[in-house]
Amino acid sequence: MVELEADAYDLSGLNIMVVDDSMFMLKLMEAMLKALGVRRVKCIDEPTDVFVQLERHNVHLLITDIMMSPIDGIELTKTIRSWGGEKVPFTPIFALSGLTDQENVMRAAQAGVHEVLAKPISPRSLYERIHRTIEHPADFIQSDTYFGPDRRVTNAGPRSAERRRTEPDDVIFF
């Protein structure tokens, strides 16, 4: 478990967008985020509205459900990663999923999400992921087949000198 108490953050300056086709999940996420101190939470139940809103609202973090229609969270992430503009493609993205088997987590990772949160969500798990993303902002990797966060940083913290020597550079690229 992440040691949180020593590194408490004031999250009131964050601008977070939540995308889910369940109105109740949006309500839950908004309540949790506001209780954690986030003042600006934009909830969207129609995934196709996200692209316009992302540019309009200067979003710092996007939290999206995976299983939605007409486009799911995987397609949404891929579209954001290939979006024009200087900042939007770099938006930190957390994916929410009730299906956290390896196949679905891999699909989300390959699309370029920073974190996958398993439903049901708890305030602690949500805060831990935000905390980790603050502490370890991932560089982005652009390859022929992938554009997204360097998951060697986001999933395990920055690599130590020893790990950099011993791990091949392509351990997480697909």
């Binding site: 108490e5 309540a31 209780a35 101190g37 710092h60 305030p123 805060y127 982005f140 990797i141």
Partner: protein
């Protein structure tokens, strides 16, 4: 630019860092914030139970006339939310129903019986707070899962993700 396995890789520093928009919190501890969030969830809890009860009652009353897709949508939503509201059994039964309608073909009355049994169990969990808090709740769910397993042996099922 480094190359890995013949692929060109470029590392780019992100211009969007959450750390640029936060500061160290002096006023409230993390524990305070988490307690505040738990209170916020508790405030929504009754509304969630009512929401779940309404959706499940509609499904029960429609018994079989709603498509499998609707059954999946409702149970998928409730499995995602149940645990957050202190209803882990609702999440467990919702997951079971999602798996069942994904794995089993709706071509036999036994299919609908198992679906109805799941819906009735979820209504009981949502309406009776004691179900989550004593051993009978777990026994209820174990009985349901055993009935589902028997039905799947009878009806045949396919692996998950096949649909």
């Amino acid at each position: 630019m480094p190359r890995t396995n013949g692929r060109t890789l470029k590392r780019i520093a992100t211009p969007l860092k959450l750390g640029d928009h936060v500061s160290r919190s002096g006023e409230h501890s993390v524990s305070d914030k988490l307690r505040e969030a738990e209170r916020a969830i508790e405030t929504l809890s009754n509304e969630f139970r009512q929401h779940a009860k309404n959706d499940l009652t509609q499904l029960r009353n429609a018994s079989g006339t709603e498509g499998t897709g609707t059954v999946f949508e409702v149970s998928h939503e409730l499995r995602g939310l149940g645990g957050s509201f202190g209803l882990p059994l609702l999440t467990q039964v919702g997951s079971s129903l999602c798996e069942f309608v994904t794995r089993v073909e709706n071509s036999n009355p036994l299919f609908q019986e198992v679906v109805d049994l799941h819906i009735a169990t979820m209504i009981q969990i949502v309406c009776d707070r004691s179900v989550e808090n004593d051993a009978t709740g777990q026994q209820l769910v174990e009985g349901l899962l055993a009935a589902r397993a028997t039905a799947e042996r009878t009806l045949g099922s396919r692996p998950l993700h096949a649909k």
